[in-house]
Structure formats: C-alpha cells, structure tokens
Symmetry: C2
Subunit: 377 residues, 2 copies
C-alpha cells in the first residue's frame, strides 16, 4: 500500500474501520507503559516462497519482553517498516499462531496448523504476520491443547524441561531444589519434575496468602514448599536432611540471586549443579569458593533462546513433542493467566491506551498476561 | 643397621643419638607454630606384603597443610600410633621419597625408585614410612629431575595441568586468564600453558617490587602481567581486547575470590569457564547472573585430591608422565623454595623448636618451604 493510498484509505474508515493487521510496537526503548503503541499495518500480501502467513491466536507477555522494551536485554528485536517514515519494533517473543497461507516450496506446515516461532524476539504481539517457514515449529497433535497452552509453550516449559534434563542425569526419586517456584518456569518445573518421578523442594517469597500458594503448588505436584525465611533457620538443613532421607540433592534451579540463593545452594550435595535462569532480586550470585572446590559445585546459566540457536530443527521438534505430550496427558497445566483482548473496532489510539494500561500494572498481576489482537481477516 | 646394634649404638650416643625415623606431628588442631612437634618413632619393620618402605628426600609445605592442621580443611589426616598413649597426625601431603624395601607381591616399584603418594593427607613430613604400594606412583625417567621437582610434583603442577586441560578444549594461540599468578599453581599454569602454545594474561597483587615480579613471571612464559588495580580502570577491557585481537577468552583460573575476581570474570568471552582452586582473599565469589545466562559462563571448582580419587591408576600415571616430560625438557622449573633441614643429631626438642619457628613465618616466606627430615638409616 503506497502512502497516498493509505492516507485515502485511512480517511474513508476514519472513525470505525476494522483493524485486520494491528501490532503492538515501539520505536524507542523505555517504560512499556509509555513507549508502546498500537499500530495498524497494511493488510498482508500473499506469502512469498518459503514464507508463511499466520494469524496469532494468543501472545504471551513475559518478564523478558519488558526488559527488551526497556533496552536492557541482550537479544534485540528486529526493526520493521512502520507506517510512518521510521522503523518500529514489534513487541513479544512468544505466541500461538495459526497458518493462513503458505508460500511456494513450504511443506513443513499447511493452512490451519498451529505454529509457534523459535526465533528470538519473534515479534508476536501482532494480529497477523508473514514469517519464514524455517523459524516456525508446528505444534503436533493439538488434541487436549488449549490456545493458552500453545501460547505459553515456547519459553517457560522448555526452559524448565531443559534445566531438569540437560545438566544432571537424574533418576526417578531424586530431589531437585528451586527458588522462585511460583514463577511460570517454576510451576512448569514442578509439573515436569513430577511427571518424570522427580521430587521437588520449592522456595517462594513469604506473603499474606502463603497457605493458598503452598496449596496451589502442591496441587501441581510440589513435594515441599518453603519460604526464603525458612532458609534463615539454623536447623533448616537438618529438616531437609530428614525430609529427603539424607539424599544428596544434585540440581538446583535459581531465578532469584542474592543471599537467599546462597543459602539455598548450601542445601545442595556433592557434585551438584546450580542452574540460573533469572535474577528477580537484581542481586548478584554469591558463593563461598569452598562449595566449588570441596563439594564440586558447578554453576551454569540457562537461556532457552541460546538452546534454540544451538540445536537442530529435529531437537527443537523433539522437545516440543515431549511438552505437547505432557500437556495432552494433563501433566502440564495452563499457567494462571488473564487474556487482554484488543478488539478490531477500537481505534489505534484507544488500543494504545488499553495496552499502556496493561503495562502500568503488568508486574503486579501475578498472572501471565496473554494478548489477543483480534483480526477481521 | 640391625636392631641390636642400633640399641647399643643409641645407648652409646645417649644425649646425641641420631634420629632415623622422625616425623612432624600434632595431636590437636591449631596454629602450626604451637601444635607441631618433632617425634621420633621406632625404626620401621621390614615391609609387609603389598607395602613398601620409603625414605623421604624432600617434603613440601603447602598452604593447604596449614589449613589441615588448623582443622579447617575437609580432608582429614589419619591418626597414627604415637610414641605415647595417644594417636598423632603426621603433617604434610606432598613429598618425594625413595623406595628402600618392597614387601611381597609388590612389582609396581623397586628399591631406589623415586615415588610420590597420591593419597590425600599422605603424612609426608616424615623421614621414613611404610606405605601401601597401591597409593604410590613411581616418577618415571628421573633424568633431568631434581629432588625439588619431585617433591613439588603431586599438588601444584597437576592442578595447573588439569585446570588447563579438563574444562575447555583450547587450541594453541588461545588465551587463558588467571589471578594469583605468582602462586605455585599460577607459576605452573604459566609454564604449562606456554608449553602447550597457550597465551596467558596474569594478574597479581600490586607491590613495591612489582617490576621484578613481572619480569620473573615473564621469564616463565607469561605473555601479559597486570595487577588487580589495573582491573579497576574503565578502559582496561579495551586494552585487553586490543592485546588479544578481540579473541574470546574462554578459560579463567581463580584462587582469589572477591570483587577483583568478579572484575576479571567480566573479561571472559561467551561460553567461558571459570575454574576456582583457592580463595586467598577469603571473600566469596560473586557474579552478575547475566554472565551465566547471556554469556553462558560456567563456574567450577578444582581440587586435585578429588581428581586423584576419581581417576584410575593409568590416568594418574599418564598425568605424571606428562609433567615429568615437561620438567625434563626444562619447561616446568623448580618453584622458588627454601629447604629446611632437620638433622638427625638434633633432639626432638630442638627439632620441635626449629619446626615451630618455620611456621611462625611460613605465610610470609613467599617461597615454598621444603622439609628435609634427615634419616641415619
């Protein structure tokens, strides 16, 4: 659509035209509640060879997305042509889409397939999109899968699955310890561990409704739930030893950092591995050197984006198949979530106000926010 | 000398009898300058089957020995029968011995072989000893090897060798970074790295005679030597990038801990490994979590004792052969050292005073102390 046509077209639908191709974009880094806008793009052209047109059903808002928009994340989104003279970035990195049309030479997916993107900074906060077939992964066997499952399948469950399986060769009955256990990754880790016969000791921040949270995590399969306050108790190590029958805990998952993590790491046994995937406390990781030397601790990081980059398509498909299977079997539940719909009849200004409102309180929701950018086409 | 003769001989020298089997022992943990004693034991019996009698030529005093005596080290020495009613511990964990007699069934070593012990807390501060043949490793091809080489071969050079070779697959031309570069391990690492074609960036504490130290380390093969003060300079990373031609440094060796180590770790590239073998600053290791997640840092500890425990005799022999070869080729020099002789004519009281004196200033020598407990037999 050329600029002159677009101007005419915009005038003719000035107050109530339906937005068939809208995305949540930003042109400069900053607070999402200030820099995000809804922007309507021209309708998609038919897909070129090796590409696919998709329509997003639901797109996740993850904490990392906020860091990306703030400009403090190492993976940068790609600039796309905006409707003005400047390029813009489309937000979001995770979402479930349905294939609407495939270009020449594409045989990995077909119309109506459910797909996700494995590209970093995929730009998922959009109603529709043209995507290279290479970066799409078909979600196999969608029976038993909800749109919410699909839209939250790319980032958190794979992170949990890989952390549980790539660092220590655990056997059913082995114990795993983690903090931030009520994060989306933490909840996935509880469920995947339970499905694999592993037992979990889970730490969360103390709070008013702690009993409710403990109950919820136990319902997911958590064997033990404690708060960071419990870690301060000098007798706590004995309690854990009694609980586990003195088993040597060989895997710890961390998304917190700071002193609470140091205390948790001391519960690990010889030859243990600590895998960090986040730093919610914004404090560094700190360890006595003796843990490394005499208990042979190994500390790693995990970044699902890096995993996708290093692995083959077959590996990626295999992982997705495993997660879909767990989900179909009811072993990996939908995360607690809230769907925010951006309807097609809203103007970009109205949609912008709505989306900025979401981000004013995004950090305090306690539920994963899923965007549904409706499309009329 | 037979027993009857020896008794007669001892009587005839009642005030100045020669001590043929003396060891440096302690019966309770504490400051070595207060708890160590020289103790004369009965002469060794001929070796039982599968054991060997050895005479120590030189025994090393390592920093860890002091920690063991202080009671703050995880590997504990074995209690041996003292000359009184109480058991005692023999100090020391490293030393070069010569085989004096072998028991029935021993074919791994023969008289006059140079041997070292691979057992933890071997109790090497002794003139003579009966040792299980299983824990002895023959030092092959002693041509070109000094007693000092042999007496310092078990702990520091293997630590350096294994840290350089077990964690990252380095190629000639690759860079390695380390702190505590003038420690015995650090000096071994410089030389072994140079022998393998690796380049080293070395950090040391600033001091009055820093130019001398830099010169000494460069003479060992250090490519670059800096002080921890240099790390504070904001432009320092650019300097390193210029020096290395922007090479990604993938291995860091640490024996310091604390903020200087955090700063050093930031010089490492993607997929790097940090291996810690000491904590001279007595401060914990502290890292931004982002280094683990986005640069895929892995942090390990290394303890040569653990390595010996996990590896086969063939592995241990292979390692020793490599180190001996490097030494024969002049690529692994004697550490700076000072030999403290405990002569046989001194009484246990005199020897005790001498050894306690050594430990009053042991930490400040800056040279490795080697004990030579003379034996008349």
């Amino acid at each position: 659509m050329n600029a002159a046509f677009r101007a005419r077209w915009a005038r003719s639908f000035s107050t109530s035209r339906l937005r068939s191709n809208r995305a949540i974009v930003y042109s400069q880094s900053g607070n999402p509640a200030e820099v995000l806008s809804a922007m309507t793009f021209p309708k998609l052209d038919p897909p070129r060879p090796s590409t696919v047109n998709v329509k997003f059903l639901l797109s996740a808002v993850n904490p990392a997305d906020i860091n990306v928009i703030e400009g403090v994340y190492p993976a940068k989104p790609q600039l796309v042509q905006g409707t003005g003279s400047e390029g813009v970035y489309i937000g979001g990195n995770e979402g479930l889409a349905i294939v609407t049309a495939v270009g020449e030479g594409v045989d990995s997916v077909k119309p109506n397939d459910w797909v996700i993107s494995t590209k970093a900074q995929a730009g998922t906060w959009t109603a529709v999109k043209n995507i290279s077939a290479e970066e799409l992964l078909k979600i196999p066997n969608p029976k038993g899968l909800s749109e919410v499952h699909g839209a939250t399948m790319t980032v958190n469950p794979p992170t949990a699955y890989n952390m549980l399986n790539e660092f220590v060769d655990l056997k059913p009955g082995d114990w795993v310890i983690q903090n931030g256990a009520n994060s989306a990754v933490g909840q996935a880790a509880i469920q995947i561990a339970a499905a694999q016969g592993l037992k979990t000791i889970n730490f969360v921040r103390n709070r008013d409704n702690i009993a409710d949270l403990v109950q919820r995590l136990e319902a997911l399969g958590a064997n033990q739930v404690f708060t960071y306050d419990d870690l301060k108790d000098r007798e706590f190590r004995k309690k854990i030893a009694a609980l586990t029958g003195n088993a040597e805990i060989r895997l710890g998952l961390n998304c917190v950092g700071g002193p609470e993590t140091t205390q948790m790491v001391k519960l690990l046994g010889n030859n243990a591995h600590l895998v960090s995937y986040g730093a919610m406390s914004k404090q560094p990781l700190s360890f006595p050197t003796s843990l490394f030397i005499f208990k042979n601790l190994t500390a790693h990081g995990f970044w699902q984006h890096g995993w996708y980059q290093q692995r083959s398509r077959a590996d990626r498909e295999d992982l997705m198949r495993k997660l879909v299977n767990l989900t179909s079997q009811g072993k990996l539940k939908e995360p607690e979530h809230k769907v925010v719909v951006i309807p097609t009849h809203e103007s970009d200004e109205e949609a912008t106000a709505r989306i900025r409102d979401v981000f004013k309180t995004a950090q305090s929701h306690g539920k994963k926010i899923l965007l549904k950018l409706e499309s009329s086409s």
